[in-house]
Structures are given as structure tokens and as C-alpha cells.
Amino acid sequence: MTANAAADSSFELIVIGAGPAGMAAATTAADFGCSVCLLDEQPTAGGQIYRSLSRAGPTNRVNGDSGAWKNTAGKQAIEILGKAYFSGLPLIEKLSAANVHTVHGACVWHVGLNGEDGVVTYSRQQHASRISGRHIIIASGAMERPMPLPGWTLPGVLTAGAGQILLKTDGLATDNSVLIGTGPLLYYFATQLIRSGCKPKALIDTGNGVNRTAIRELLPVALHYYRPLLTGLSMLSQIKRAGVNCYSGASAIEILGDSRASGVRCHYTGGKQINIDCDFVFMHDGVIPNTHISRSLQLRHQWNSVHHYHEPAINDGAVSSQSNISIAGDGSGIIGAEASAQHGKLASLTALKSLGYDTEGQSKNRQRQINAVGRARQFQRFLARLYPPLITTEPVADNTIVCRCEQVTAAEIKRCVELGCTGPNQTKAYTRCGMGPCQGRYCGLTVANIIARESNLPAETIGTFRVRSPLKPVTIAELASLADTPPTHTQMTTATHTNDDSR
């Protein structure tokens, strides 16, 4: 390894994830002259929300100027994808101009500590590399909440987020689809399909409508959020106007099909049953923070009883229970894209201060960012009350596959509880649940919920799967390629915050 390459492997700040939070964090640090490395799994910056925006898929070769979207194709792209998508352009533009060492296609599979430094190991094009940084900002974003339903493993069942990715990245849409679930992203996707000329056959809504608790959460921030509220109402009216068949209060939903999805059956308001044929199903049950990295570090986490998910504990400055590791954006608990960018800046300023940079001039900005993030968390609480996850209203049916990788059913998890399992980690040993290639990302929350329900214990006492590296499957060849990297001086350790490992 050349001296140059060795020098390249050490940074003051490492940011993981190039979504709104990560991009804002990296560019803010670069503005101060801090040496920053930004790692991202996708080929271009933007995260999932602004995915492929820098090239806007094959739709454009625009240089970031949304004013250039003047011809038919550009206008159609804006009309279908929506203006909110294009609002990410300034962040992406700023990143491409900033002095940030950005690595795309980097799959991070280990984050650890080496003395005072954070150490991040990632694979890119089947070759592993290890870099170190004095401070790490985890901006790993969100993923869709697993929505276990009978038949959800059938080919042809995708998440609504996946449907959006196809639309944003490649301009792909399909007709003859059924949408299942609840939450703003599902309705947004429905309007995108309508505008694409691919009106969904039906929308099966599991939400329970406006309620008092939701209104109470909304009141303190209603003025700040009137725009998104109006957008939401307009989406609902677009869906109605387009004549999409909507079935609200849906329960006992089953996805039918033999070797691929061919239809959906459910009950809806009033106990009526409906059977709908379709080719594709898009499901969505809200989003949850992606906590694999923070959990592998054994940082302190807490159960959020409004959102029904685990989130890392952070302070006002986005610093985790480990002083040189911060968590920004949706990965710290869902706050949405706009607030994530604010949170990224905030996390960066806090990190810069601890790295010895003079950030005194930023104290006003800092307060503004703290306020914006606080309001966003309040607004998300409103959304969580309005669109509660299905698992809180209906138990998972016995024959439903919970762990997609290892094909473990809800009945098997319930049997584990009968046998005395008190936490998710024991179900691993009994059933291999959570031990497949996705490493429990799409079953962990469901398993915790089933255990809580079956054992009549509050969800916050159940805990989570213990996450260990490699966080993503790696080959022996990738591990071996690490031998080309200079050895670290002391043995790598992970943070040692107490965490009950016995479950």
C-alpha cells in the first residue's frame, strides 16, 4: 500500500450514508476545512428519498438546475415524481462541489472503536477497506416497517418504497396493482401511479382515521406544518377523484397466489369481504429507523412507544451514548427529509466543536436546527397516531412467515414463547429467525412484538436482536482483501455500554 493510500484512510470525520442528513453533515464539516469521508451504498448521492436525483435516472442529464426542466419529458418527470423530490437538488449540488471524499457503492459491514478513533470497514466492488476517523456520524436513514401478512413473501409483492425506487431510478410503473397499508408514503405513491397513467386497482387502508390523540399531537406544530397537511389532504382528494377503489378499516388481509401474487383478500369496514385480482402488491406500514450500525456498537437505545420502534438515545447535539459517535436524520428516530438535513448540520457542528473547530458563530443556527428537529419529531408523533402500524391493531396470523430469509412463521415464534423464550435472541437459537442474509432487518421488530403480545409484557422490556458484524454478508475473499490494508495498532473493540445480552 502506498503512503498516499495510507494517508487517505484516516479522516477527522466519517459520515455513513449520503441521504439528506449525511449530505448536510459532510458538506457542513467540509465548509470548516475538516477532512471528511462520506460512505454511501448507492451509486449516487441522495439517499432513498432523493434517490437517483443527481442523474434523475435516465430522464435527464440536467446539471442540477431545476429550471432546465422545460421540455415535455422534464415536465412529465416533475409532474409524476412531484416537486418535493426535486427539492433535494441543492443538497446534492452542494455535495458535488464540496471538498468531501465521497465513496459510492460502499457497503459498510463493521463499525468499531480503536482507542480514541472510530474504525469503519466497508466493501466496494468485492474489495474490503478500512478507514479511521476521530468522529463518526451515522446517517443510515430509515427502512419500511416490516408488514407481515399471509402471502407477503410471494414474488410480485414489493414495498411501496421499492415501487418509488423503480419510478425514480428508472421511470418504471405498473398497472393492475393493489396498495396495502397506511401512511403518507403509501398515499404519495398512489398519486404518483395515478399521474403515471397506472392507476392502482385498489387501496386497502389499514389506518384508523383522524382521532383525538392525533389531533392533540398536531396542535403545537400545526402552524409550522400547514403546508404538508394541505399536501396530504390534496393527495387524498387526488386518490378519490381518480376513482381508486378504497377499502378502509381493512383487517384479515391475505395476499393470494401460488408462485406469484395474484390477488388480495380482506375484510373492510362493516365486516364485508372483498377479493381483488392483481399482478403486483405494494405494501407500506410506515418507516422505522435503520439501527443496525448503532446497535452493533451497543450504543444506548430506547423503545419509542408512540412510534413502536427502537431508536438510539442521542442528546440535543445528536451525540450518542458514545461521545465520538453521532446519529443524524431518520436513523435517530423518524423526522423526515427536511428536518434530517437540519439534523445533519446540527450533528456536524457539534462534532466539529468537539474536534476543536471554532463553531461559536453558529450558535443561532444551532438553536434554529434544534427547534426544527423538535417540531419535526412532534409532527411525526401526530403521523404515528394517525397511521398506527398494523401490528398494534391486529395480531400476526399463525401461518404468516415472519422471518423471510429463514421462513420462520409466527406460530413458531409463539411456540418459542410457550417454551419460555423471553427475548428475541433466544428465538434465533430455536428457529434461526433473524439469522439469514438480511440479518433480522425485516423480522426483528415483528418478533419483539409477538413476544410482547404473547407474554403480556410491555414492548419496551423485550429488547432487540443482538447485532454483530459483519452487518451485511461478506465473502472470505473480501475479508482476505483486508490484509492489504495496514494493520491497526491496537485490537479493535466495540463500545461497552451495558446491554442485556442474555435474552
Partner: protein, 122 residues
């Protein structure tokens, strides 16, 4: 089935169709079936556009793409004997992609599962 929308077939800066589709078009194979794609498409996108939604089989269960963001590993396929996520893999000319067929961990399941090549015509 999935189709590419009009806006994706044109550059937004000019009114001309995206430069020479012949240039941009590539072909590769999935389970020995010829698949056409556009340069830059992922394997997952290309297969969906060709109405292929079963990418493999695990423990006797058919698998297709699910999250398309690299998290769920449901879209695993085999390229050069290595299992890879179809949603994270760019399709290239003449690439030979095979479905990933794995059996489950039950002792009574067969050690290998023969995959019927005709089975992927959907």
C-alpha cells in the same frame, strides 16, 4: 407488468428521444433466457421489465425482489458462481445471471434442488 414511462425515454434537455436506443440497449441472460436492458439498469430493473419476477428459490419458496434498496436480500441471483443482490448490481452486456436456488436447513429436505429451466417463464 412494469413498463418504462414516456419521460424516462427522453432526455429532458432536448426534445429528441434518448440518444440512439441501439447504443444504449444491452442484452444479457437470465437462466439462459435472453433479456434486454438499457445501459445503467440494475439486473432487478431489467428482469422486472422483462416480466420476470421470480429471481430464485429458498427452502422451496419462490423469491422475488422486495425492498430494492439493498436491505432485504430477497432478490439474490447468481453471477459467476457468486450470489449477489440483483437490485445492487448493474446489468452489463453478455452477463450470465442464474436464479439462486437454496434449500432450507431442515434435515429432511433434499441436499440440492433441481431447478426446472422452464419454470421461470412466469
Amino acid at each position: 407488468m412494469f413498463k418504462r414511462l414516456h419521460f424516462a425515454n427522453q432526455s429532458v434537455q432536448t426534445t429528441e428521444p434518448q440518444s440512439g436506443t441501439a447504443d444504449d440497449e444491452i442484452t444479457f441472460s437470465f437462466n439462459q433466457q435472453v433479456v434486454t436492458a438499457r445501459r445503467g439498469d440494475t439486473v432487478a430493473t431489467a428482469l422486472l421489465l422483462n416480466n420476470i419476477i421470480r429471481f430464485g428459490q429458498r427452502g422451496g419458496i419462490d423469491k422475488g425482489p422486495f425492498c430494492l434498496m439493498g436491505a432485504c436480500y430477497e432478490c439474490l441471483v447468481q453471477v459467476n458462481g457468486r450470489s449477489q443482490q440483483a437490485c445492487m448490481l448493474e446489468a452489463v452486456q453478455d452477463m450470465q445471471v442464474m436464479p439462486l436456488i437454496l434449500c432450507n436447513h431442515d434435515a429432511d429436505s433434499p441436499a440440492t434442488t433441481e431447478h426446472d429451466p422452464d419454470d421461470n417463464s412466469q
